[in-house]
């Protein structure tokens, strides 16, 4: 069993109007940042999870997203599994 730091990115579904992203895009534009295309604003969830393997950690994180963390009507999610900081690498 190792502790994994799971990072889950939840973003508004591509193709749906994202009013928050739009407002940020306009703000960047008006500040003079050139070349800003579409902006989408989502959320980042960092979860510590004990699991036997990175695959198992990713599979459980996927179920968490499907059940609670992302709304399937409006949001997409992406999962990244990393080893927990401060946790020693497992001896081989």
């Amino acid at each position: 069993m190792s502790a994994y730091a799971i990072e889950i990115r939840v973003t508004p579904r591509r193709g749906l109007l994202d009013p928050q992203g739009k407002a940020i895009q306009h703000a960047l534009d008006s500040l003079g940042f050139a070349g800003v295309g579409e902006v989408r604003a989502g959320k980042l969830l960092v979860i510590e999870l004990d699991a036997d393997s990175p695959d198992e950690a990713a599979a459980r994180a996927t179920r968490m997203c499907e059940k609670l963390l992302a709304n399937p009507v409006t949001e997409d999610f992406a999962i990244e599994v990393g080893r927990n900081a401060g946790q020693p690498e497992a001896a081989t």
């Binding site: 009013p19 609670l68 709304n71 009507v73």
Partner: protein, 234 residues
């Protein structure tokens, strides 16, 4: 007739619903805490407005896992009448009792003011006291009321007459000026396929007594009381 109003941590329209049902309509009404698992045997279940669980994650996303929601699902599955107002509508969508989702208003602002909604179908337990096409003035108070569903779902809702309330202008016209939040098809409220679960963003309970400035919401409660009286005789 017996009604229950479900209280979640963060509900804040529960007393408004109790006031209308108990004091204005004379219905035997009680609160039920979200940790309960048994609704009793009510004729009506109301999921009131508010900010259940602080709207953390998404509005309604955590409340839908409250124990009482399982009981509400079973009750709705048996044909029981469920009314979700504002946060209650959001919970019904998150729980899968109604299709679609409610996203951030397109203005990004919390909108708290009267709106006009048109009664699109009077043939429901919730709207029979209204005239079809009647325009109601009812307040909204929400930041996430922007209804969305995939195109096939929207088409089905329209084809089956399940869009019950639509935002319009004072004159009942669609388009610019009526829609306060960017909702698809100007949708303010929908009903499930069986016709017993309705969710809407506007607050009829805040427009049910003269002192509140509008009584246009009262018709919904009159419709429900009449429906339940008929259902009991039948």
């Amino acid at each position: 007739m017996r009604a229950v109003v479900v209280t979640f941590p963060g509900s804040n329209c529960d007393y408004d619903c109790l006031q209308v049902l108990r004091k204005v309509m004379g219905v035997d009404t009680r609160f039920i805490w979200h940790r309960e698992r048994d609704l009793g045997d009510p004729d009506l279940v109301v999921l009131p407005g508010g900010f259940s669980y602080g709207d953390y994650l998404r509005a309604g996303a955590i409340a839908r896992f409250s124990p009482i929601v399982e009981a509400v699902k079973r009750y709705a599955g048996r044909g029981g009448i469920v009314l979700g107002i504002c946060n209650g509508f959001q919970i019904l969508c998150e729980a899968g009792l109604l299709p679609g989702a409610l996203r951030r208003n397109n203005s990004l602002k919390f909108r708290s003011h009267d709106v006009h909604v048109r009664v699109e179908t009077k043939d429901t337990a919730f709207t029979r006291a209204y005239r079809a096409g009647q325009v109601l003035r009812i307040p909204i108070a929400h930041a996430e009321g922007n209804y969305i569903a995939d195109p096939a779902t929207l088409e089905r809702l329209e084809a089956e007459g399940r869009v019950v309330f639509r935002y319009t202008t004072r004159e009942g016209a669609r388009g610019e000026g009526g829609n306060p939040n960017g909702s698809a098809n100007d949708i303010a409220g929908i009903v499930n396929a069986a016709g017993n679960v309705l969710g809407l963003m506007p607050h009829p309970e805040r427009a049910a007594e003269g002192v509140l400035g509008s009584t246009d919401g009262l018709g919904m409660f009159e419709s429900l009381v009449a429906h339940c009286a008929r259902a009991r005789v039948a």
